[in-house]
Symmetry: C4
Subunit: 276 residues, 4 copies
């Protein structure tokens, strides 16, 4: 029993270190983890560059395994210390934590799967936990709230934009298809439409016939004008003011609230609101 | 007469199913129709891809005919059940419904006309009817209202932008025309101006002379600055609050105005505001 | 004298037709003029396309002369009928009107100068006069006012952006200059910077070294973020509400104005503001 | 002692001329300096153009030395006249002033370092000092204040965007890597992602597989939608009105608050508000 409670105390202490950032030890753990994630992502990225000599490449492979083993231990410790294991394993970060280590092991079976390891960069979203106490989160929540509040409007807008690109894409296929080998199918024409209406404009596909160029001009001007719509939606949500301070003034006669700041008499019972 | 009223009842029931989405049967019909439209658009798009083997291509042609016949029956049923046939046939959706089936039949005469069938994707705008009751429409109407309210301002802005591109385009033709074969006519130069001022920038045409590149830089900075204009217009319309409820209520004792809608007593003299 | 007053009456009538759009004759003249300008611009543009056969090209030259002679007569009539000739000749439209006809005559001396004739498209700005009475002008004035009010802020912003592109451009020349022949001089590198920061991105010049691509990424993200600045400035100006209605309430004792809508006593002399 | 005070008076006069723009001499000095900076930057830029003949190039080198020696004297004079030398030398403009002259001297050791001299264009930021008294600075401060106020929100937004580009970049490397030599490493794929999400779209790298083009379309639409976020943040900050002047004035008779700054009598009870 004593041993059990000792083990429980260890689990609790580990939990505080691993999952929380309020204690010095927890903060040190979190910062070290973020550095390790950054380094491991750097290694994965550099490993994909073919111009490095073989020895360097070998070093990257070794480092990759070191990081993966470190993250595996960390993942097992999280599972061990957490109260509700299933809930953690099925949470956003639980899945990201698992997916971050799997590709290295899978690389025995699937060659090239390592590149998917970069998904572990999403673990860097944990950085916000460290800043939890600094008020930085308020800014993030403000933006996230505005995006959430405007999700329906943005979705409807994008839905209509996508319909337009499909129609425009097939018209362009009809117009350019015969003479311009870049517009050789409707899906490619639709892809070109999206590249154009979003004002990205790679130029890998571009119209060559006068009519095609005229239609493209129309599409560009449409895209240029409607880029304002998501902007207007999100700006409007970001600027939505928090509800005005309610005056805490209470009528001494009928105990009603909601009086204007400059009211002299209660607007509900007509009683004098008393001295300010 | 009994037969007639039976037929009328059938027509009414069919009308409810086909044109409305309030009943379970109507909702099922609408969702099936949307799925069929999506699939048929997919078939039309994939049919245009030349890399599929002949058997697959043949399958697409067969599927295309199946969908077209299905949509033809649906169109005839709509004409049969609707009260005012002419009004439906001349409405936005009536025309879209007809234009969605015509190209397949026209393909006997005009080769390649099938690609125009993609116009049937516009039928997907019907999807909003299903969401009519969920409040999603309010969001869509809000955006549509803001776009409608800003149509004059946007039009004037685009009119001036187009005039500027014409002038700039011919100046660029004058500057680049001799040395850069991409600027071989004024219409092409204007096309390049639109590509540039909308910040799309394909790169299929780009200036090579120092003066041309300087003018292009000026044009880009103009485009970069004035993209703000439609944004400002639409943001302003989206944020325009609905007019506040004005209470025309006047205090019968002190004749004061500006009382809240829920006020019972005058906030200035304390007199009763009269019966609500 | 009778002849003189007749001439004067003719001049006045011509003035009303040519310069104003309030009478039916004036409206017809303005619309015809706009159509003629549009057609003449079309002719100039098509004339620059080299793929037309010689006969068509010859027709364009003839049409160009017809339009130019017509516009010359119109310009002389404007000079004849207007009260203050110098003021008209030096006004914006007066200059545009003259510049619109000069290039055709200059083409005897300077080959290729015709393309500058497209400047006559600026005469289409006159279209706003026809709409003067429809309230459309209010929208245009609103935008023009917002742009005018934000001209200092926009200028300061562009000034700083241009300084940044110069610094960035020379750093890129230092980084890419040796290995990438597209970055062969600082002016070209600055041109590339402007193409990038405005998110146009032709791709005619693009970095190839890892460091260059990293710096380009930084520049793009800067451009992506600060595009918000002119937008914010102009949106803010467009949304600026017209000054609130001043209450026309005058204190009957001291004749002062500027009282709040809910004031009972004059805030300057303490006298009762009287019955509302 | 007399000599010392003479020297001190000279230093003071020089300080007023060099560091301030309030006196006529100071204004002349500042304008001449700005012109010299502009000319020297022009010389550095043109020197990098290889197409000029040797004599012209030689002239540029001579001019470069003239400007550098002039700026060196100016820098030494600044050090001589300023009160706190260390503070000036470590200030933003102190460092810029030094860095602006070093590259010419360094060019003896490092070839090509001259291009870094363009950094002296940052000295043009001094132009704002001349306008200090014209109210133009208020506009600049307004924008700078809005950017400063939104720096946390923008940073969080860019942090998330960069994480997304890293994940998207490695997925694209996985998808396109085998068949498209442009996506030959994760860093390059991430670079492409940034080019795409910022809607720059060079087209030097672009996807060729259907899946890659589909993912690219998704990325473009994301970029197109979220460009609204920094815009919304900055617009919101620019429009934030400065807090209205709160008058802490209380009526001594009825203790009411909310009086205008120019009020003499209480607007609620008519009592005198006390001596101003």
């Amino acid at each position: 029993m004593n041993q059990n409670s000792n083990r429980q105390a260890l689990r609790d202490r580990l939990f505080t270190i691993i999952f929380e950032a309020d204690t010095p030890a927890g903060k040190i753990f979190d910062v070290s983890l973020l550095v390790a994630i950054l380094l491991s992502v750097l290694v994965v990225m550099l490993e994909s560059v073919k111009t490095f000599p073989d020895e360097v490449h070998h070093l990257f492979v070794v480092l990759e395994w070191v990081f993966t083993i470190f993250f595996t231990i960390e993942y097992l410790l999280r599972l061990y210390t957490v109260g509700n294991r299933l809930k953690y394993a099925a949470s956003f970060f639980g899945i990201i934590d698992l997916v971050s280590i799997l590709p290295t092991y899978l690389s025995f079976i699937l060659g090239g799967a390592q590149s998917l390891m970069v998904i572990r960069i999403l673990r860097l979203l944990r950085v916000f936990r460290i800043f939890k106490l600094t008020g930085l989160m308020d800014h993030g929540n403000h933006i996230a709230g505005a995006l959430k509040a405007s999700r329906y409007k943005i979705s409807i807008f994008l839905y209509v934009v996508v319909l337009v690109t499909f129609v425009f894409g097939s018209v362009m296929y009809f117009v350019e298809g015969g003479v311009n080998e870049s517009f050789d199918s409707i899906p490619r024409s639709v892809y070109w439409c999206i590249v154009t209406i979003t004002t990205v404009g790679y130029g890998d596909i571009s119209p060559v016939t006068p009519l095609g160029q005229f239609l493209a001009s129309v599409l560009m001007i449409i895209g240029y004008s409607i880029i304002a719509v998501p902007t207007g939606i999100i700006t409007s949500e970001i600027m939505r003011k928090p509800p005005e301070k309610i005056t805490t003034q209470v009528c001494p006669h009928c105990l009603s609230e909601g009086h204007d700041a400059d009211a002299v008499y209660c607007k509900f019972c007509g009683g004098h609101l008393g001295n300010h």
